[in-house]
């Protein structure tokens, strides 16, 4: 889809109405246990499934978890994923098209559109440089722009792209929370989590309903004042995670929004 068709569409961080509970600055509540790697390891191994994934009281459990923003019932597939070659051809995946000759700027159009802007996470492949930086922009129900930059700050035309856009449930029976968070810590989209106030590059995410075991969290920074924000996570626990965006020179990056997906055990 040409970019001009997306002009005027609301971006993701403007679409979803904010739930009051999501902006209360819950911060670190419930995080007292499970900080640090050691705790992470302990929680990540074999803790079993959550209540919502069990067969017992399935309907009530699903209803409760859905209300908390954890969607785990097998349902319609509102997810796209794909791998795009450097020349813009689609290596794998369906349900999207890519603008021609991306040269590091992948204009992805969803077909059909999501009901609302999805969460998009992405990673660059191994190109001619080992240091590609990923960010996204123009997030909408109909598409997203994903950029790959070199360490020198110019678009990288030599690196393929893998992405996942999550607008609803995952296939199978996996609990998932996903969201987009504005730079000021307000929730642009997603439910089932709160964010500590004034993140300034350090997003303290608390899950409204704890996972049965520490989930897998993947994340991508949006397009901020720098094109080279680096993402990492820490303090991974059943109840939350800290996600950091750093500039390439090291300091926290306060000007970049964050997209994340937390996937629990099936």
């Amino acid at each position: 889809m040409p970019r001009s068709r997306r002009i005027g569409l609301q971006r993701g961080r403007e679409i979803a109405p904010r739930h009051p509970a999501q902006t209360s600055g819950g911060g670190q509540h419930g995080r007292g246990t499970g900080k640090g790697q050691g705790a992470t390891h302990g929680q990540g191994k074999g803790a079993g499934r959550g209540a919502g994934t069990a067969a017992v009281s399935a309907f009530a459990a699903i209803t409760a978890k859905a209300a908390a923003g954890i969607v785990n019932q097998p349902n319609s597939l509102a997810i796209l994923r794909g791998v795009i070659n450097t020349d813009g051809t689609v290596a794998s995946g369906t349900g999207f098209t890519v603008g021609p000759a991306p040269a590091g700027h992948f204009v992805i159009s969803f077909a059909p559109a999501f009901a609302a802007a999805p969460v998009v996470i992405a990673i660059g492949g191994k190109g001619s440089t080992n240091r590609t930086y990923v960010n996204y922009d123009a997030l909408a129900a109909t598409g997203v722009d994903v950029y790959l930059y070199t360490h020198d700050g110019i678009l990288d035309p030599n690196t393929p792209l893998a992405f996942v856009a999550v607008g609803g449930t995952l296939p199978g029976d996996l609990p998932i929370i996903r969201g987009v968070i504005n730079t000021d810590g307000t929730v642009a989209s997603g439910t089932g989590f709160t964010v500590g106030p004034a993140p300034a590059g350090h997003f303290v995410i608390s899950f409204a309903s704890a996972f049965a075991a520490a989930p897998v969290v993947v994340a991508t920074g949006g397009k901020g004042s720098t094109n080279r924000a680096l993402v990492n996570y820490d303090a991974l626990a059943t109840t939350g995670v800290d996600v950091y965006l750093h500039t390439s020179s090291g300091p926290l990056d306060p000007n970049t929004p964050l997209a994340f997906v937390a996937v629990g055990a099936g």
Partner: protein, 95 residues
Amino acid sequence: MAAPAIIRGVVNADGTIASGTGFTVGPTPAGHFVIAFSSAFPAAPVVIATGGKGATDHTFTNYDSLAATGVDVYVKNSLGALDSTAPLAFVAMAV
């Protein structure tokens, strides 16, 4: 064994698996995680990943050798060197 729809995991910096099932990791990754799926996908999946907080705050990830049976994921520091101190979170999803 049925082909997986999704595999996700957290791998410690030393290559031990912190969470997740359905995959193994090559020994001593030192920033280069050789992930093998226990049951192959029907085709090469989509793999996304994020590095954890290691000794440096600015790590970035990329992937290579993407196949139905596995993938290599790299975590590097801002100087371009492999980062041996950062754990890895990844999701592999069938297409």
